[in-house]
Amino acid sequence: MLLIAGLGLALLWAPEDADQGPSQRIFYIHVPVALTAYVCFGWAAWKAFRLLWKRDERADLESYTAVHMGVIFGVLTLVTGSIWARISWGVWWTWSERQLVLFLILFLFYSAYFMLRYSTEPGPRRARTSAVYALFGAVLLPVSFLAIRLAEQLLHPAPLFNRDGPQMSGSMFFTFCVCLAAMLTLAAALYRIELTGKRVDARLRELREALT
């Protein structure tokens, strides 16, 4: 519901941005998606920490699902960011856009997370290893951001284009907030659905093993 409201507001009601016109509207999707991805990765790291600290086995599935959500939203961020770049600057990809580069690095990192999970036999070892890796991801986030900034100064100087900052007028800000809330709700809903599905799956497997 919120998503529909958010999209409707974004596309129809918010005033056109003076610089970029209608293409700016993708901003309302792109940034909330990016923020949601961050929240998902943060949640995954928190659940991972709980797994290791409290030895709460259920947290493994929660962490895994959160990483999955994070990767989905991360890919969406990259795609919407790419579309925006195409519309704004005429190129599909630009290294000067720090957030996009950060998401690319995170995407690589968390894709490796899935490879790690699929290569390891299920069990407490896999749960613990995945949890440690998810925690590394959370730490990598700020470190990578610093690295990207340093790299920019050295080898990839930022061009003349600048991104819209968060200076938004009142109605734009409201639209933004609605979209953000919509994205977070969507993520939470997907998370819950997937988590339940995985839990049922695991329970089914347990029962099957117990019966044979």
């Binding site: 290569s119 925690l135 690295a147 080898l155």
Partner: protein
Amino acid sequence: MTGYLADVTALARKDLLVELRSRDTVPAMLLFVVGALVIFHFALPEDSSRLAAAGMLWIALLFTALLALVRSFVAEREGTVIDGLLLAPCDRSAIWLGKALSVFAFLVFAEAVALPAFALFYEPVTWELIAGVALANVGIAAVGTLLGAMAAAARARELLLPLLFLPLAIPLIVGGVGATLAEDPARYLGFLALYDLIFAILSWASFEYVVTE
């Protein structure tokens, strides 16, 4: 405390002695890094700047380090030495520290050959480059040993380790190349030191969780 350090020294000595007797990792690393430097000559265009050469050196060092890391856990896996190590009455993180120290030593041996080769083929080597390499070694050894333990439990471990390692190595590359090329290398060296501190502590603390059955 002395018990811990004694454990770490014993473990690091074990790895180094095994390498000394079998001589399989370090010679391969040396050949690989020199071979990579030679290939880069053919890969780079004629009038490339020193910027490109410095970048290529760091890539060569990174992949040589991956060689060392993959090898450092293969022996444990094959001989199930890791079970013996886990049964030993030492703190699990001492295993990590001992292994990381031996990986660091292998990297130093490889760089002792790679840096002169680089100076011969491309560019003179500056003190900032050596400092950057030393700091990056710490980061590679720390993170790589932890990831090696993670990958050792998995099926496609030789494939998995590079996959896990490369995203984490990106800040190291940035710091290293920056230290080599920038007018203000101190900032990049500081960044490398920060990375080392954060990830060494994190790896040291989480090694136990990764390696226990």
